[in-house]
């Protein structure tokens, strides 16, 4: 059972990926060891014999959106995995809801009308898709949820995720410990109302609440946009000047914009305060170039590919985990490990210096992956 084949573009991570791909559920290898309090819970295994069918399979994929670089890469990992399993597929039908949950419900109805054997869904919101996905399950069609799960446990067979809680727990704990439990920080969450952003923000706030001398001086949603991250941090700098001891961003998408705002405001490299945030190569490149204290934990888009792997396993009647947390390495800048958060990959090894800044990390598609030219062949 191979749920993930990570190739982060560097030998060290390739090795880690190989280790991971043969490991079992709850993955906790040396290369991706979570801090104990941040580790995801062990998953229950699901019996899928009742869903077993003879190939070729017809799978419907109700995608939420392709509205940013992460989502595009996620989508490509799905297509890449569909191509990998092309010999077992009759059709791999894709719909796209453009971020609108009500359209996604209609998309799922249209997929059901095309006699799919399994529904793969990346829910636009966790709650809104619950009723329709429940209806799909009650019609005997298994559901695999990717990136976000739906609300009710019985409404999906398996769920591939990268754990927002774990990501935020690692980055917030690291920042608090790096500041030795004292300082003024700014929080830059993603998109207001989006469940990953809210989950990460709430987790981070819970962590910071454990450190009474950490003062949150501003919280600004950024929509996961580098441009917003930059303009918002520029405005915050106008108000607070050099009074900022740390910046917690739930992703490097806006985190990179924040770093650029500090540099544009005349901060020297060594004066840029510690930052958090993975996903975007630009963030890793900035941390490498300027040497400020940094932790990056990707919300790996490889979960899309893992979800397709799970889908195939279900249709082949193999047991699958109820929740499969695709692990991501913890990248800490040199010399900045803290008491409980240790980097599992060195920043200099992880940053993709041969790739552009907008390159999304952790896709697992291969070194030569280019989101602009990527194509995949599968029956559709």
């Amino acid at each position: 059972m191979v749920y993930s084949t990570f190739k982060f573009g560097i030998p060290v991570v390739l090795t880690a990926g190989a280790l991971l791909s043969v490991s079992s559920i709850g993955l906790s290898t040396k290369a991706n060891a979570s801090a104990p309090e941040c580790a995801p819970a062990a998953a229950e295994m699901m019996d899928t014999v009742k869903y077993k069918k003879d190939p070729p399979f017809r799978i419907g994929f109700a995608n939420a959106a392709k509205g940013d670089g992460w989502l595009v890469t996620f989508f490509h990992t799905v297509e890449h995995s569909a191509q990998k399993h092309a010999d077992k597929l009759d059709k791999f039908i894709i719909t796209d809801a453009n971020g609108d949950p009500t359209k996604q419900i209609s998309d799922i109805q249209d997929l059901m009308n095309q006699d799919i054997d399994l529904l793969l869904v990346n829910p636009a919101t966790a709650d809104a898709l619950d009723p329709i996905v429940g209806r799909v399950m009650r019609r005997g069609i298994p559901v695999v949820s990717a990136a976000r799960r739906v609300k009710t446990d019985d409404n999906f067979v398996s769920f591939a995720t990268a754990s927002d809680t774990s990501l935020a727990c690692h980055s917030a704990t690291w920042l608090a410990e790096h500041l030795e439990g004292k300082g003024k920080i700014v929080l830059l969450p993603g998109k207001a109302g989006a469940s990953p952003a809210e989950t990460r923000l709430n987790t981070a706030k819970e962590i910071f609440a454990k450190f009474p001398d950490i003062e949150i001086i501003d919280v600004q949603y950024t929509g996961w946009s580098p441009a917003n991250g930059k303009s918002i941090m520029s405005a915050i700098l106008q108000r607070h000047g050099k009074d900022i001891d740390g910046v917690w961003a739930d992703s490097g998408l806006q985190g990179s914009g924040s770093v650029e705002a500090f540099l544009n405001a005349g901060f020297k490299s060594e004066d840029v305060p510690p930052h958090t945030g993975g996903d975007l190569n630009r963030m890793y490149l900035l941390a490498l170039e300027h040497g400020f204290p940094f932790i990056g934990v990707d919300y790996t888009p490889a979960i899309g590919g893992s979800a397709v792997d799970l889908a195939i396993d279900i249709l082949e009647g193999k047991p699958v985990p109820k929740s499969f947390v695709v692990p991501a390495p913890i990248v800490v800048s040199e010399g900045h490990n803290t008491k409980t958060i240790k980097g599992t990959v060195a920043l200099k090894d992880y940053a993709a210096t041969n790739q552009p800044g907008d390159y999304i990390m952790g896709h697992g598609i291969g070194n030569d992956y280019d989101s602009k030219s990527f194509t995949a062949n599968y029956p559709n």
Binding site: G99, P101, S106, D110, A126, S195
Partner: protein, 316 residues
């Protein structure tokens, strides 16, 4: 009789264009996917087009009086969150909350209309402003999906009577009621008069301000109905659910032949516009091509529809 002939001449090209495009979509659908032409798909389609139908009906009122309602998306969202939040799984609260929400929608629309006539500010600005206020209030109330409704309320969105979707049936009833109201009632005809020539309407004893306020109240009511429908479909109140629907509500109204300046347009055309847009979305799911193509095609259709209208007006 000559007036009727004149009206048919003026209106038919827009409707004929919609019918022609709809037939084209259906023919393409039959060729590209054997599942497209099934009864099940068309029944699904009637279910799926209900919210756009409600919203287009509301927007039609605003457009017919020569305005536009850009608060529709925010009213959808607020009604959606208000309904799910008020009920929160309490069966007994379902019907009172539903009535409350529909009344809220109408009252909000009423306020839009009142501000428009009282200040003389263009409704585009007024409704843009009130939308922003309302959306902000909703996000202050909740950032995440909230509340819940009893399981039986899902039947509004998913239920079938003799195989026909309840929501589609309710939508068709609304179109019929509004169509009859606009055509046969004095107030309905006044809606056209106010939008077509406000000064002439005033000289004919029509209270323009009242009619305008009524039109916006109707728009708010139908937006709230769509908000309730979305609660039924998703089971929760979502503080972002209405985002795409403000502009979406305008498309079928334009495509269906309503003049943006007001005073002209047929409910039949709007219904056909809703059907065509919904059918197009549906077809693209069967063709398995990018959703962005849908935007391109919708944009082209709007331009073509308006071009047909403009061309028509230039002729004597």
């Amino acid at each position: 009789m000559s007036g009727l002939t004149f009206r048919i001449k003026r209106t038919e090209p827009a409707i004929m264009m919609v019918i022609a495009l709809t037939l084209l979509i259906i023919i393409i659908g039959f060729f590209v996917n054997e599942r497209f032409g099934t009864i099940r798909n068309f029944l699904n389609l009637f279910e799926q087009m209900a919210p756009l139908g409600f919203l287009a009906l509301g927007q039609t009122f605003a457009v017919l009086v020569g305005g536009i309602d850009l608060s529709i998306g925010a009213v959808v969202t607020a009604s959606n969150v208000l309904l799910a939040g008020t009920v929160s799984g309490n069966d007994a609260m379902m019907m009172p909350a539903l009535i409350l929400v529909l009344a809220f929608g109408a009252a909000f629309g009423f306020m839009n209309g009142w501000i428009t006539v009282a200040t003389g500010v263009h409704p585009l600005i007024v409704t843009l402003g009130t939308a922003s206020v309302l959306q902000g209030l909703v996000l202050l109330y909740t950032l995440q999906p909230t509340g819940s409704v009893p399981f039986w309320f899902e039947e509004f969105a998913y239920g079938r009577v003799f195989g026909f979707p309840i929501s589609g049936f309710v939508m068709l009833l609304c179109f019929l009621a509004v169509g009859l109201f606009l055509k046969y009632s004095q107030t309905g005809r006044a809606v056209y008069a106010v939008g077509g020539n406000p000064e002439a309407a005033r000289l004919n004893g029509i209270r323009n301000n009242r009619i305008t306020i009524l039109a916006y109240a109707a728009s708010g009511f139908f937006a709230a109905l769509a908000g309730a429908y979305f609660v039924s479909r998703t089971g929760v109140g979502d503080p972002r659910v209405g985002d795409p629907y403000t502009l979406a509500s305008i498309t079928p109204v334009i495509v269906g032949g309503c003049l943006l300046g007001g005073g002209r347009g047929r409910i039949t055309g709007v219904l056909l516009g809703v059907f065509m847009i919904s059918l197009l979305n549906n077809l693209l799911n069967y063709i398995n091509i990018s959703t962005f193509i849908q935007w391109v095609i919708q944009g082209l259709i709007i331009i073509i529809a308006v071009a047909v209208y403009v061309d028509r007006r230039k002729k004597p």
